[in-house]
Structure formats: structure tokens, C-alpha cells
Amino acid sequence: MELLLVIIIGLLYAAGIYMMLRRSLVKLIIGLILLGNGANLLIFLLGKIVKGEPPIIGPNEKMLGEIYADPVPQALILTAIVISFGLQAFAIILIKRAYKVVKTDDLDEMYATDEDL
């Protein structure tokens, strides 16, 4: 399971960066989404994946055992997903607006900010 996740995370990061390097606006956003998902899975992976070991202290024990499913990374991922959802929604609306105003999807055509006055 860990190995599979490692490969998936690597693929997501690689695909995300590749998409970001393209000139299309839509691909830029898709790249950012893939990167974000890769980061979320990375947090999930680092929270030690185990089966059937809930983080509950038994009635006869004082502390948690050696191996248990860490709940903190899941809280972190949940927060990160909600945040990236908002940001991505904004980014998608932004590229739609930019497409309407600039009338191009090509990042190389967007040089109004570099023009001299």
C-alpha cells in the first residue's frame, strides 16, 4: 500500500509540474490541482497507514500502543482540501475572466504587464 501511494504521489507531482510548464491557462490550473492532490496524499502517507489500530486508549492501558492510525494528518488533509477547493474555485473564475478580457488562452500572449508606459 505504501509503495503504491509513493508511486502515485510521485506521478501526481510530476504531472502537475509538467502541466504547469505548458503555456495554456487551463493546463496551468490543472497542474496546480494535481500538485495540491499530491501534497494531500503525501500528508496522508506520512501519518503511518495501518489497518484496525484506532487511536483509542483501552480501559486497561495508560497510553497508546506503538502503532496506531494517527488522526492528526487526516485533520490536516481535511483543512488543506477545503482551502485548496476555495483557491481553485477562485483560480478557475480568474482564468475565465482573463480569457474574456485578454481573448487568449496562451500565457505568452499576456504581456500587458511588461509594456512600457
Binding site: 502537475g16 500538485l35 501519518g47 483543512t79 488543506a80 483557491l87 477562485f90 483560480a91 480568474l94 504587464t113
Partner: protein, 502 residues
């Protein structure tokens, strides 16, 4: 010492933002609430700094969860100082916005978002939890995304795309770094991480994580190889928005770097070398970039980059003196850069252009206002006894102690380039013979504004200029605070003890 009131600067800004949302349609009421709210926020942050100075580091454990399990808020001198500067900048920009922001932008919620941005900044300075820092960063960037696009002009949208793309990338890098750090140590509390990271045996992985943090914060604070989004976007929104961006947004990245690289990762030779080289190249590329520009707001954007290099140099030298220099420079820079972008806004309102080539004769037409504008311009250069001088002096002394001659050379080069650029700007904009500029239809010129709006714009520039002079002439007090901050950064045991209570 647990003190729930340290989050008051954050909660209060949220309160102001919500109140503003309830008066969505009443533009004048919004302006009033924003200014009064910023004033009260300033008083709150002054009282926080005084309290921290008298009683030492204040902490708050959210929900009563003892550190390192819950989220901790910490107000040490550094945090309280930056919260105060945020409030000062926020007040100035809020007053300036009363005069300069158009009603169309106010209708789309400019003021509530401005206060949410200031809330995010205060939160980022006060938090003691690395994941919480990430969340505050996200609040800052989503508010800044709205501010940079509000109005929807062509240049704004194009600038926003570059700004949004790079900031989202920085967030992902930062999140990745947090993930690896959590995997290594199993903790998120910054004070606890300071102890845990020292225990990790795999130093290679620790260094990789440190570099990830460096890249994440480096994009946000616009250091050498990662700064290209800044000059492409900061000159596009209205001047009031540029002012709060130029004053505070890059500085929060510098703050995070100073905090993380003194508390969590104690820099070894490798890291200090990387940071020093980055600082030198940042100073150089920012200075040379500013030389080439004709748009005064672009000149200031490049100068932001150049001066970020000075603060980074303080971290690269990594001694008490140099860090005090970086902190002093940070204080000076927040005030001066906010002011300069407002000054550029005033020039635009009067003349109708940002182009240095077209501007001219400002001194002849507006002698008093020109003298006022000279204060931030020459503070930026750092002609003694103005405020920019003292930070650089400390930095050079610090570099001298560690006999880093090359870095001293670059700091002096950066100062010289700044001097040259400001002298060029002064002669082009203020002394050159005036040119006849065609009146533009869509601009509301300064003369056509109501007296209240004129006074609001001038008042905020005067306020920050007086403060700049105060930092320059009262350098002793600022220096004392900067030295305290630097000593606490070099020896974080007091911070750790205040949070963990052991």
C-alpha cells in the same frame, strides 16, 4: 503565562470585516467603520507590545489543549512588533483608500477584504503552530487575490494570473515541507519542533525539508531566483492596494523565514551559505532591475526585491548584530514601502501617469508636497540620520564581525544602486521641466476630488513620513527593541519555555 487577549488583534479585525459586510450598500459608513476600526486596532497592538515588553512572552493555548497538542498562539517581542507595524500600515492604507479607492471597487467589497487581509497578517505573526501558519498564509493569499483582481482591468487580470500561479505553487511547496516535517518529527508546534528536529538522526532529510521551506517562503518574499511574479503584478492594482502589498505581503515571508530558520532549523554552514548567496543575488538583481524601469511603481517593485535582500543577508550572517539589523530594516521597510506606493498614487492622481519620461516639474508645481515626498524617498536610500541608514549600519557591522567582505560589497552596492535610482527618479519627476500631458477622460484628477478625499490621501502620507522620521531620529529605541528581538531569535529557549512550560 497564558493570556487569551493576545489574539485580540486577529479577532478584532474579523469583527471589523463582519461589521463592514453588514453595511455593504452604505459606502460612507464603510469608510468610517474601516478608519475607526483601524485606529482601535492600532491601540490594541500598541498595548500588546507594551504588555509583552513588561511581562515577557505571552502565550495562548487554543481550547485549553496543552502544547504541543493544541494550536498555540505566541506573542513575543518580534510578533508583537510586527502586529503593531501591520496595524500602522493598515491604518495608513485604510485612510488613503478613503480618498483614492473608487466607489465601484468599494461596492464590490474592498474594505471587508482589506480587513480580512490584515487579520490574516496579524494571525500569521502571532501563531506558534506551523500548520496554522500555513492556514494564515492561505487567508492572506485569498484576500490578496481578491484585492489584486478587484476592478477587473486587463493589466490587473494578467498580473493576477502570474501572482495567483506563483502563490499557489508556493503554498504547495510549503505544504509538502510541513508534511515531511510532520513525518520526521510527529509534531506541528514550532517550539516543540525546535526540540524534535534537533533529535532527528537523518540530517540529510532535515536539510531537504529546510530547503523546501526556503523555496516556499522564498517565493512569497520574492528572493532571487523566485521573484519574477512581483514586478509583473504589483504595479497593476490601484495604489492603495499596491501599498499594503508592497509594505506587508513580502515581509510576512521574511518573518516566516526568520522564525523558521532560527527556531526550527538552526542554520549550518550549508544553509547560511545558500541564504547568503541568495541575498547577494537578490540585492543585485533587484537593484539592476529597478535601473531599467520607467514606470515609477515598477521601480518601487524592484526596490522591494533589492531590500528583501538586505533582510535575507541578516539571516545569512546569523549573528545577533546582523539579525538586529535585519529586524531594524524590516521595521523601516514596512513603513517606507507602504508610504512610497501611496506617494506614487498621489503623483498619479495629480499628473495622470506613472511614466518617469512623461512626468516632470513636480517640484515647481507642488513644492510643499514634493518636500513631503522627499522624506520617504530619502529614508529609503538611508542617508543618515534617516531610518534606512541604521539597519544597514548594523548589517554591515554584523558582516564585518564574520569578515564576510563580499556580502559587505553587495550591501554597499545595493545602497549605491538605490541612491542612484532615487536620484534619477527625483531629477526626472521633480526637477525636470514639466511636459504638457493630455487630460485623460477616465481618471479623476486630484484637483477634482472633494477636500475630504484630498486630506485623507495627504494625511496618510504625512502620518507615515512622520513615523519614518521618528524611526530615524529615535533609532535608539527601535535599536533596543531590535536587539531584544535578535537576542530572542538567537537563543529561542525563552520562547520554547513559554510555550511548553517546562
Amino acid at each position: 503565562m497564558s493570556n487569551p487577549y493576545i489574539v485580540l488583534p486577529v479577532i478584532f479585525q474579523l469583527f471589523v470585516a463582519v461589521t463592514l459586510m453588514f453595511s455593504w450598500t452604505n459606502k460612507n459608513l464603510q469608510k468610517l467603520i474601516s478608519v475607526v476600526g483601524s485606529l482601535i486596532a492600532l491601540l490594541i497592538s500598541i498595548s500588546l507590545l507594551i504588555k509583552v515588553n513588561q511581562e515577557g512572552i505571552q502565550t495562548m493555548q487554543a481550547g485549553g489543549w496543552i502544547a504541543p497538542f493544541g494550536i498555540t498562539f505566541v506573542a513575543d517581542t518580534f510578533s508583537a512588533l510586527l502586529v503593531l507595524l501591520t496595524a500602522i500600515s493598515g491604518l495608513a492604507v485604510s485612510v488613503f483608500s478613503v480618498g483614492s479607492i473608487r466607489n465601484a471597487r468599494v461596492r464590490f467589497g474592498y474594505f471587508p477584504i482589506l480587513h480580512l487581509l490584515i487579520m490574516g497578517l496579524s494571525g500569521a505573526f502571532l501563531t506558534g503552530d506551523i500548520f496554522n501558519l500555513y492556514v494564515w498564509f492561505e487567508i492572506i493569499i485569498i484576500s490578496s487575490f481578491v484585492l489584486i483582481t478587484i476592478g477587473g482591468e486587463k493589466a490587473q487580470l494578467e498580473g493576477a494570473i502570474k501572482y495567483v500561479a506563483m502563490n499557489l505553487l508556493a503554498s504547495v511547496v510549503f505544504l509538502t515541507a510541513i508534511a515531511i516535517l510532520y513525518g520526521l518529527t510527529g509534531s506541528l508546534n514550532m517550539a516543540d519542533l525546535s526540540l524534535q528536529v534537533a533529535k532527528v538522526e537523518n540530517r540529510g532529510l532535515v536539510n531537504v525539508t529546510a530547503i523546501l521551506f526556503l523555496v516556499g517562503f522564498g517565493i512569497k518574499s520574492a528572493v532571487f531566483p523566485l521573484y519574477f511574479w512581483l514586478p509583473a503584478s504589483y504595479h497593476t492594482p490601484p495604489p492603495a492596494i499596491s501599498a499594503i502589498f508592497g509594505g506587508l505581503l513580502t515581509k510576512v515571508g521574511v518573518y516566516a523565514m526568520l522564525r523558521v530558520f532560527t527556531l526550527i532549523f538552526v542554520p549550518d554552514t550549508f544553509l547560511t551559505t545558500v541564504i547568503t548567496v541568495m541575498a547577494m543575488l537578490t540585492i543585485f538583481s533587484g537593484g539592476v532591475g529597478a535601473l531599467m524601469q520607467n514606470n515609477i511603481r515598477k521601480v518601487f517593485s524592484y526596490l522591494i526585491i533589492c531590500h528583501i535582500g538586505f533582510m535575507l543577508a541578516g539571516l545569512g550572517i546569523y549573528s545577533t548584530l546582523a539579525l538586529a539589523g535585519a529586524v531594524f530594516y524590516l521595521v523601516h521597510d514596512i513603513v517606507v514601502k507602504t508610504n512610497l506606493f501611496m506617494v506614487s498614487g498621489l503623483i498619479f492622481k495629480i499628473k495622470g501617469t506613472y511614466s518617469m519620461r512623461l512626468l516632470g516639474g513636480f517640484y515647481k508645481e507642488q513644492p510643499l508636497m514634493s518636500l513631503l515626498m522627499a522624506i520617504p524617498l530619502f529614508s529609503l536610500v538611508g542617508i543618515p540620520p534617516l531610518s534606512g541608514f541604521w539597519g544597514k549600519l548594523l548589517l554591515i557591522q554584523g558582516a564585518m564581525d564574520s569578515s564576510n567582505i563580499l556580502l559587505i560589497g553587495f550591501i554597499l552596492l545595493g545602497s549605491f544602486l538605490t541612491l542612484f535610482i532615487i536620484a534619477k527618479l527625483w531629477s526626472e519627476v521633480f526637477w525636470k521641466d514639466p511636459q504638457i500631458l493630455p487630460k485623460k477622460e477616465h481618471i479623476k484628477y486630484f484637483d477634482e476630488l472633494k477636500p475630504l478625499k484630498k486630506r485623507a490621501m495627504l494625511a496618510s502620507v504625512v502620518f507615515l513620513s512622520i513615523l519614518s522620521l521618528g524611526i530615524g531620529f529615535g533609532a535608539e529605541w527601535v535599536m533596543r527593541i531590535a536587539m531584544t528581538v535578535a537576542e530572542n531569535l538567537m537563543d529561542p529557549s525563552a520562547y520554547i519555555q513559554a510555550v511548553l512550560g517546562t
